[in-house]
Symmetry: C2
């Protein structure tokens, strides 16, 4: 039902479908300065839920939130040459403030790595101060010439974690903990997005990292989206920022650091991982509205039933909203479908006379006739079913569209419809160049069993290869 | 006990005391760019609790969060001339981005008023879209030549609410609702800070506002701090940004708008409203750590008792932390006092042998001997007592230091130690100039009974006069 002509079909033009959904679901608008975005209340309420879920996991992993300044002295960014090379064309620079030209221009943070490094060096005295586990929620700016709402914007919102450790092993274990217990757990349980977890090949690592771990999700057009990354920085960063600690023997020793981040890009990933031709399809755990109680028509008896149903659902901790019966029923159904609300509870006079309502799932379109007295219990349970079914469906889609291949040619062919998986030793530096000429990249390296390798030199690794956002 | 020589006493040099507390309690540091600040984990955890409490109240008042861009075209700020005059010397301007000079420089938002106005005009079509109630949590930049951590920084964190209404009465009622149900309720119940609620005299209004409401708190040095403000903007802003709606008769009509904000300045206010010579004194509702279980010495039996006590407190929903017995007991007590933790539970071997512990209140220094089996229940109840006692004590301090006077001369004299209150018709424009020459201002106008007047022309108003931050 519904949806025809409202959105461009995915199969016709996926990027246009994405634009249409973002606009029609009232997720975001383009800001007045090129590349910036306005996140509208509905889009922001999804981001707020993501933040709360990620933040709770970060705190459980022992990190503490702090806040570092938006403005960074230009000189900081040249302290780690490798780092600045990765960023300088993307920087926004403030040259005037307080009514005059600044003696030293300041940069709007593209990440807070450098300023956090500076303060870590100041705060860390002895081994007793380690590990130092910091996280920040903030806006960052990286100038974009080809912006796309949520996916690539000049300003975006994110969290960036930065930690310092006494040993390489501790740093490595913590980066892995964040990757698995924060990011992957959030992606699977909240966003219902299965990803390929692995390490980046050296050519795709974050500037200055000794190892970069990634979660690569498959979008409905078969392309990859990097959902979150965790970096081991070895002692590179600690060397540049002189992050020393006094060890138990009283000697100065260099720290090992990590960094890890996820951003409003996740909202784009959520849209593209589950959306269909009728709009968003939101997993219940992240949906700001989990169920809408919809009056089929504007009628006192129907409205009273809707009110008591929504009260009962609220009491059962369901995030519920009510849609009174004014305006076209079809149009209202279409609007709620575009917004991806997981369950629609239709209340009409005929059903009501029999003590029944109709519950419609957004993900499968399945319709259930439910006794009005059972609605609260049914809906609460059904939301969990929808959540797990959505994850299973996304995993099936990913698996069916991941093609095991033996050669680079086959990989290039296969990624026209999904991901390709092939032996990493069939790729190598030359193979990576070949793939890049076809706008294809190695998204990550995994062990054969799908687990995360320690580094790219492990034998018998596979490369997950795809086109990407 | 404790505290001597750690902090400058308030009576000796209050500004120095403030600096010392902010540093020693590990609340914040100066950032590398002049005027910016680094909010350390302990300071940030206080801000996070403030945010959560304010945000919940804003949502109950019906407003929705959204996010607008950091960068604003310079041209936007000249759309409302009165507005830009209030800000231009404070602006930070980005002239270069993406590796080249921008055709039009962009301003780092000093507030999002203008860009939100632009989008309100776009989103509002008819009376059915009203009221439009938006809020944003964000960082803003106003270049400061004489910065002070939390109180005045070039970048600060805040929430800014912006709403559009069909009628002046609706706008006015909503600004009042926010002022009373969000700000004042939060200040009283969470921060335990009583304030004088009132309207600003015309000379002190926000640029473009037809009415500005304020909450003025009294700091321990007798100066005033403006804790939050709510503005009625009449149709001034709607005119500048062409925020029209179609009324029920199908005619285009101008909206009435409001704006309201509170910021990380509240952290400074919290410090100065309750702090003493030994450091912070935090009200339990905003304290990140409500109770610390302190082992008097490092001993297996003591540590085991501390562990089971802190488990019991956690189970009773108390935010608790444990301090093992290593290092000097006196030094550890001093550190927890500086951090303002409301209750300290001291566990020593002698008390323990009798099944007792000592509970010490940070606010009154009162010591209670409590049976170990009663600690969880006692502490949970005592935290509420501390919260209400702190509010009562702050109100008593404010009332005792508010002096009713009859003349401007007496007012200038009185504000050397607190606030002065005098008839508004004794002040007037000339009186305001006289006061300003003594670095004193009219903080707000109230009715005799302390309630908020509709405007400054009401008869028989009083002026609250003070030195201020």
């Amino acid at each position: 039902m519904a949806g025809q002509n409202v959105l461009t079909p995915q199969s016709e033009d996926f990027p246009k479908w994405y634009q249409d959904v973002v606009a029609k679901a009232e997720m975001a608008d383009n800001g007045p300065v090129r590349g910036t975005m306005v996140i509208r209340p509905y889009g922001y309420s999804i981001w707020e839920r993501m933040q709360a879920e990620i933040d709770a996991r970060i705190k459980r992993a022992g990190a503490q939130n702090a806040y570092f300044p938006l403005f960074i002295p230009q000189s900081y960014l040249s302290r780690e040459a490798e780092h600045v090379e990765g960023f300088s064309p993307e920087l926004a620079v403030v040259t005037h403030a307080g009514g005059e030209e600044l003696a030293e221009p300041v940069v709007v943070r593209p990440t807070s790595e450098t300023v956090i490094g500076e303060f870590m060096a100041k705060w860390i005295q002895s081994y007793r101060d380690l590990p130092l586990l910091l996280n920040q929620w903030a806006n960052v700016v990286r100038w974009e010439l080809r912006p796309r709402l949520f996916l690539r914007s000049s300003e975006f919102l994110w969290q960036e974690g930065h930690t310092a450790h006494a040993t390489a092993a501790d740093a490595s274990a913590y980066a892995m903990k964040i990757h698995v217990e924060v990011y992957n757990d959030f992606l699977e349980r909240v966003l219902a997005v299965p990803t390929y977890l692995g390490i980046k090949p050296p050519s795709e690592r974050f500037a200055g990292a000794t190892n970069t771990m990634t979660c690569e999700g498959m979008m409905r057009d078969g392309k990859a989206l990097q959902m979150a990354t965790s970096h081991e920085l070895g002692q590179n960063f600690a060397t540049a920022f002189e992050i020393y600690y006094q060890n138990e023997e009283g000697q100065a020793a260099l720290c090992f650091t990590t960094s890890w981040g996820s951003s409003t890009r996740l909202v784009g990933g959520l849209i593209m991982a589950h959306g269909d031709d009728d709009g968003l399809v939101l997993p219940p755990h992240v949906a700001p509205i989990q169920a809408v109680v919809l009056a089929v028509r504007d009628d006192d008896e129907v409205n009273a039933a809707c009110q008591s149903l929504s009260d009962a659902l609220e009491a059962a901790d369901v995030r519920v909203t009510r849609d009174h019966g004014r305006g076209s029923f079809g149009r209202r159904v279409t609007d709620w479908e575009i917004k991806g609300v997981p369950l629609r509870i239709e209340v009409g006079p005929r059903d009501l006379a029999q003590g029944l309502v109709t519950v419609v799932r957004r993900d499968t379109r399945e319709k259930l006739t439910v006794a009005i007295t059972d609605v609260a219990a049914t809906v609460a349970a059904l939301l969990e079913t929808v959540q797990s079914d959505m994850f299973a469906a996304a995993r099936r889609f990913r698996d069916e569209n991941t093609h095991d291949v033996a050669t680079l040619d086959e990989a290039v062919e296969a990624v026209q419809n999904g991901f390709a998986r092939l032996a990493w030793d069939r790729v190598g530096a030359e193979g990576e160049a070949r793939l890049k000429s076809e706008a294809v990249t190695v998204r990550c390296l995994q062990r054969r069993d799908g687990s995360i390798p320690a580094d790219e030199s492990e034998p018998d690794l596979v490369a997950i290869v795809a086109k990407s956002y």
